[in-house]
């Protein structure tokens, strides 16, 4: 029977069935960072265990790293202690660490693919829910909790229940000024923030095939916002071309062997799925969230929903969202005043995101009073962007250009909203308090839409602002 990619990778990595019906799954690549790993190392130490496969674990720091001048060090003693603890653990257990001195530091989901660590047909785990990003390469990637980080460190395996697989087929092509970010926000709005619970999502169809690898990462990245822990795209020629030549990519004779394996893991035509949904790319507009979860969004020409048609818990949750966001029912999304603009994160902090924005900035300036910041996803993204002179365009237009890290995506470092500031953000979560202030407000959108909002000082249609 023809199989999908998920089924094949799951099968080939299943070590055994556990007595409770779960599977013990072998993990090919384990990525760790400073926030969710120190406690896990503590747990293995407490139990007198060691790291089973240090050569398949890689570390970086991203969540709490300051994005202003690193030479100044950490203002925050606890942040510094977490970084020290990671460095110490890597040294003690012989784990490769990509810190700032390596020149390869960055957001864990940016550097995995960039270094060629993320490969098709591999299982990937990381103590971070956006691990689904790596699924863009046809790997099966799981976001895990800290006790599971402990499990992978100690055994190189995880105890997991096998999810069902839903095919998300998107036909047609995205219009001008419509990006992968809009596509995934649209999917989440349609299927709901919990629509994916119990599922792995396979994204496919003509519009997915047409996306670059970086755009595919944006799609898979936000699977978790739709409730799906795993999201992936079956590997194709584009996938292989992206990997070729990267530091950890297979070389010479290994390359041919790898290609053979990778091809064998691709979804076969007429493979069956537990569920299928279909979308038309042409329906999708630049999309903006107006609420406090990533499913509460609308096309740029849309309005905040009306309360009058709702009742019960749907009404209560809309009221809660609107009172937090300080928006009114029926209000146009266009024209909503913003105070902060943030371009970055593991969703949209890659080179192509920055190139797209830079290519439109000529003769535009960030509106007065708007704090606008651009944070590259990794040191490599930063180098490449600077080699192309993108940073000059950003600075000239009035954006700040920062050092790589998660930054204002979750604001564990000094980059935070103040009070109830409203931020147009290219990140992935608009939860209450997400960007560092317990009353701070977030509207999610594509990087170019963030740039348009920064220039206008209000939510605007990038297609008009930049005459696309």
């Amino acid at each position: 029977m023809p199989k999908n990619c998920f089924e094949k990778v799951w099968q080939s990595h299943e070590v055994k069935k556990l007595w409770n019906g779960q599977s013990q799954l072998q993990i090919g690549l384990h990525l760790i960072h400073e926030v969710t790993s120190p406690q896990a190392f503590g747990m293995i130490r407490d139990r007198g265990l060691s790291v089973a496969c240090p050569e398949r674990t890689f570390a970086t720091i991203d969540h709490i790293i300051p994005t202003k001048n690193l030479q100044l060090g950490y203002e925050d003693a606890m942040a510094e202690e977490m970084v020290k603890s990671l460095e110490q653990n890597c040294k003690e257990y012989n784990i490769k660490y990509f810190g700032p001195k390596s020149g390869s530091q960055g957001i864990v989901h940016v550097i995995g693919p960039e270094l060629g660590l993320t490969q098709p047909g591999m299982t990937v785990a990381c103590g971070d829910s956006h691990t689904s990003t790596h699924g863009a390469f046809g790997s099966i990637a799981f976001g895990i909790g800290t006790s599971q980080v402990r499990d992978v460190l100690a055994s190189q395996t995880l105890a997991l229940s096998k999810p069902k697989v839903r095919l998300i087929d998107i036909q047609g092509q995205l219009g001008k000024g419509v990006y992968a970010k809009d596509l995934i926000l649209h999917i989440i709005a349609k299927l709901g923030v919990n629509g994916g619970i119990g599922y792995a999502y396979e994204y496919a169809g003509a519009s997915i095939e047409a996306l670059s690898m970086e755009e595919r990462m944006t799609i898979c990245n936000m699977s978790i916002e739709g409730g799906a822990r795993v999201g992936y795209i079956s590997p194709d020629q584009k996938t292989y071309e992206y990997i070729r030549g990267r530091p950890y990519a297979p070389k010479e004779a290994d390359w041919a062997r790898a290609l053979e394996y990778w091809n064998s893991t691709a979804t076969e035509s007429s493979a069956s799925f537990d569920d299928e949904v279909h979308f038309a790319a042409s329906e999708i507009e630049p999309t903006v969230t107006w609420g406090i979860n990533p499913g509460q969004s609308s096309g740029i020409n849309g309005q905040v929903p009306e309360l009058k048609d709702l009742e019960g818990s749907a009404k209560a949750s809309l009221e809660e969202a609107l009172s937090y966001m300080k928006l009114s029912p029926g209000q146009n999304l266009r024209g909503t005043k913003i105070e902060v603009a943030f371009i970055g994160s593991c969703t949209n902090g890659r080179l192509s995101d920055l190139q797209e924005v830079a290519s439109q900035l000529d003769n535009h300036k960030v509106a007065a009073g708007i704090k606008a910041l651009i944070v590259p996803g990794s040191m490599e993204v930063k180098r490449q962007a600077e080699a192309l002179g993108l940073h000059e365009k950003f600075l000239e237009a009035g954006f700040e250009w920062r050092e790589p890290g998660c930054s204002m995506c979750l604001a564990m470092n000094p980059d935070k909203l103040i009070g109830d500031q409203l931020c147009a953000s290219s990140s992935n979560r608009n939860f209450k308090g997400r960007q560092g202030s317990s009353t701070g407000r977030t509207m999610l959108m594509s990087p170019l839409m963030v740039a348009a909002a920064a220039i206008k000082g209000e939510v605007a249609d990038a297609r008009e602002v930049f005459s696309l």
Binding site: W19, M82, G127, D151, I197, N293, S317, A411, M412
Partner: protein
């Protein structure tokens, strides 16, 4: 806040205690534990920060909040998609150290439920009418004890006896006391080595 408390160990057949209601859907892990409290290298001090931004005002003064009003409660009753968002285990750990041992919700986010399982916090799903019935009962008698029977999957409070559902893997693990899977994973050490031989990429990352 229960500081000197016993963490779950061994077989878990019943959970009983007072409950607190957290109505509303999609309560995410950023709300359960705001990101600034993720700066820690052990989990044990996190209980005091559970739902911090909703429990305290800017000056650190306690607000009216179910966790403040019922500090002794060990069971949460919640809405749909509870624990969505970030995979941070800090969220269930904060609840655990706050004293929470069971959660009844319309549904759970998957990573969160898995994390709870590993810590021995039982997660059971309720139907909407049953959740409403519990809310109503606790509104008239907030101190009413809830009793969760893991084997039967039932929830009892006062006159009410309700059927909840719990994934078989979680139910079996709690009952057998094997909710922490690590020991079983380690036992397969040889199988893991063999598996490595069959995966074409297993030897690919050699350190320079």
């Amino acid at each position: 806040m229960n500081t000197a408390q016993k963490l779950p160990t061994g077989q878990i057949e019943h959970i009983s205690g007072q409950a607190l209601c957290l109505p509303g859907d999609d309560i995410d892990t950023d709300r359960i534990i705001p990101a600034r409290f993720l700066k820690c290298i052990t989990f044990s001090g996190l209980g005091q920060y559970a739902f911090y931004d909703e429990r305290y005002d800017k000056a650190g003064q306690p607000l009216a909040h179910p966790l403040n009003d019922r500090p002794q409660a060990s069971i949460i009753v919640a809405g749909a998609n509870f624990g969505c968002g970030s995979s941070r285990e800090h969220a269930p750990q904060a609840l655990l150290y706050h004293g929470i041992r069971g959660i009844l919700a319309l549904s759970f986010a998957e990573i969160f439920a898995g994390n709870c399982n590993t810590l021995g916090i039982a997660c059971l799903s309720l139907s909407f009418p049953d959740q409403q019935a519990i809310f109503a009962a606790l509104t008239s008698n907030p101190a009413e004890l809830i009793e969760i029977d893991i084997a039967a999957g039932t929830v009892t409070l006062g006159e009410l006896q309700l059927q909840a559902s719990i994934p078989q893997s979680m139910q079996g693990a709690l009952l057998a006391g094997s909710w922490d899977p690590l020991q079983e994973l380690l036992e397969a050490k040889d199988l893991v080595l063999e598996k490595g031989q069959t995966l074409p990429y297993w030897r690919s990352f050699q350190h320079n």
